[in-house]
Amino acid sequence: MFIAPFAVLFALVFIIPIGFAAYLSLFQDKLIGGQVFVGLSNYIQLFGDAKFWNGVIRVMVFTAIQVPVMLIVAMSLAMALDSKRLHGTKFMRISVFLPYAVPAIVSTLMWGFMMGTKYGLIGNLNEAVGTSIDPFRPDTTMISIGIMITWAFTGYNMLIFYSALKAVPHELYEAAAIDGATEFQVVKMIKLPALRGSLVVTIIFSIIGTFQMFNEPQILSSMVSNSGITTYYTPNLYAYNLAFTGSQQGYAAALALVMAAITIAIAYVVQIRGMKDALE
């Protein structure tokens, strides 16, 4: 009885939408003939769809590289802030966090202009040094997007780490100082273990975030030419284009559900591993 309010809300905001997507994924919308029940054939088609797997592999490779880089930077910044050896930590904290408050659309436009080879900063650099760096070629676009996303989310992750470090009881540091521990030992024995819980959280958030990548490729595709961004560049972009340009809503729903399952599975593995390590 006491869980009734929760159960109602859970059904309303969670079960029903997912159930509806699952229902939609069993149909095909035809321009001629309207909606037809097709059973599981959307799923079967999806597993053989090279465009879908192209996007999935792209975001997986991206996640495997970008997430560790971003989290290491965020962790280092958090420790630097926590070390109390810096001046102006408040200003630094705010300024590192600030990019998170900039809407992705604005930041993509900004980076897009900055990295432009003809008239942007990179263009000036190329001219001055004589290089020919182009951040938006098919083989460099993903790196550029990685820079944008790292810029945007490092501050957010840093704050999570920073608050975990703040929660470490001061006595621990005093005890370490009495025992004559070096700064390196303090980091290894006190700070890193304290960050473990928040590391699991940030990894899961980052994986979900990058798997859902949409804004950056969507905007860049109309901003720069020949960047290699296709309509199936990321699974989310593909779902969007299937639903809206191809009016293949059923197929898009199947794709969304499969992506959700993959994301949940990976997040679950990370959590189990993280928990196990934390318990050891």
């Binding site: 095909q28 035809k30 321009l31 001629i32 003939g33 202009f113 432009g116 003809k118 008239y119 070629r137 098919p138 901003m223 720069v224 030419s225 020949n226 960047s227 290699g228 961004i229 296709t230 309509t231 199936y232 284009n241 809206f244 340009t245 191809g246 009016s247």
Partner: protein
């Protein structure tokens, strides 16, 4: 009934009588007030509404900008699917009409619009006529033309605008010789430009008969156009780095390093803003020809307005549609800068003799009016073209960024994907 109410009722009656009197002249018998919703991205619609409401005070016209064309089609599809919020009049690009007309989402206007045919240039009428029905009325037009920067041409030693594609090729070489950043034009997977070349050469790659669609890029005329463009791309005479409408494009047009644009006549309305420093340098010329002889033109863009089958006010909607695309509204829109396919405008001296300082006082409308009348007919778009053009972007991305492959291979793959998609969508494609 007390006194005050009686007065109110009397004035209401009087009002409705005046309304009847006004609308009576146009054949609208209804005394009810009608509210029409128009979806359009065309800025000249508002201008025409005023004049229309003077003639039809009982019809209020509410103009909604439902976003870019692409967003508008999505919104229309959603409204039709939901069965509510369907507008009474909608603007379409020509290529998107079959998408809505063939599945029966648009009203056939062939009875009301009987006899309108000769009032538009033939190719525009061809665009709205599908399977013997008329599903929209042409509202603006994009005859393909060549906009060229005379100053850059002169610098390169090209004294006269190329009139054939062979001359265009020679000019391309001379212009690129001016410097690495100089190109005769740009192309980063612009499907409409490639199609307009094929169109002009006489290729008709799409054939639509009801739900039967055939696609063929192997015809001799199509191949001629594709091979020609391939040659220019292969020889590095076309800038493939600059996307149309981008900031870089504006700058290159502005500083004269992009010497021409092969595009629709509508460029006249935006070029002066995009390339203000090139004022006085640009001129408009007909498309270069494939062969000497009579001029053949092609189309690049343009739009029409139709009435969704689900509209609740079809009669009133047609009154506005007629006013807007055929009646007195046309002149109002032309004064606002619209380029229309109506022959009475295109043939009028007032229109043809108009000059513009930006184009060096050239009577550019005369060129564009002639180009409109020269547009070859018989072209058809497949009913899933909106989808197909994004697929083309994906397929051609690799070629335009790395140079691997060729236009012929792109078109081949495009055909395969269109065939799969079309068959999946319930058409018979081969």
């Amino acid at each position: 009934m007390n006194g005050r109410m009686r007065v109110a009722a009397a004035s209401l009656l009087a009002l409705s009588l005046t309304l009847t009197a006004c609308s009576g002249t146009s054949g609208q018998a209804s005394t009810d007030d009608v509210k029409l919703t128009v979806w359009s991205w065309d800025g000249t619609v508002e201008a025409a509404v005023e004049g229309f409401q003077e003639e039809h005070p009982n019809i209020t016209v509410d103009v909604v900008n439902a976003g870019s064309s692409y967003d508008e089609y999505k919104a229309l599809d959603n409204a039709i699917q939901a069965g509510s919020g369907v507008p009474d009049i909608v603007m379409f690009e020509y290529f998107s009409i079959p998408y809505f007309a063939i599945p029966g989402k648009l009203t056939d206007l062939s009875e009301q619009a009987a006899g309108f045919k000769d009032d538009y240039v033939p190719a525009a009428w061809n665009n709205v006529s599908i399977d013997g029905g008329v599903y929209a009325l042409p509202s603006d037009y994009g005859p393909a033309a060549m906009f060229y920067n005379q100053a850059t041409f002169e610098k390169a030693g090209v004294t006269e605008a190329p009139t054939t594609w062979d001359e265009f090729y020679e000019a391309a070489k001379k212009i690129h010789a001016l410097g690495d950043e100089y190109y005769i034009t740009n192309d980063s997977a612009d499907i409409f430009m490639l199609l307009s070349l094929i169109w002009q050469a006489g290729g008709r790659p799409f054939d639509v008969d009801g739900t039967n669609v055939s696609i063929d890029f192997e015809g001799a005329e199509t191949t001629q156009a594709v091979e020609y463009w391939q040659k220019l791309l292969d020889e590095g005479l076309i800038n493939t780095e600059i996307a149309g409408w981008s900031d870089e494009w504006n700058r290159a047009l502005n500083d004269g390093t992009l010497a021409t644009q092969i595009t629709g006549g509508w460029l006249t309305s935006t070029l002066p803003e995009r390339a203000p420093d090139a004022a006085g340098d640009f001129r408009v010329a007909p498309l270069p020809q494939w062969e000497e002889g009579p001029q053949v033109g092609a189309e690049n863009g343009g739009s029409a307005m139709g009435i969704p089958e689900a509209s609740q006010n079809k009669e009133a909607a047609f009154l506005f549609l007629e006013y807007f695309t055929h009646g007195d509204g046309v002149q109002t829109r032309v004064d606002e800068g619209a380029f229309v396919p109506n022959t009475k405008i295109l043939e009028s001296d007032e229109f043809r003799n108009q000059t513009n300082e930006y184009f060096g006082d050239q009577t550019y409308n005369a060129v564009l009016a002639q180009a409109s009348e020269n547009v070859a007919t018989g072209w058809q778009y497949p009913p899933f073209f909106e989808w197909a053009r994004t697929a083309y972007g994906d397929i051609s991305a690799d070629y335009y960024s790395t140079g691997n492959g060729s236009l012929a291979e792109i078109l081949d793959e495009w055909k395969t994907q269109m065939t799969d998609y079309g068959n999946e969508q319930g058409f018979t494609v081969k």
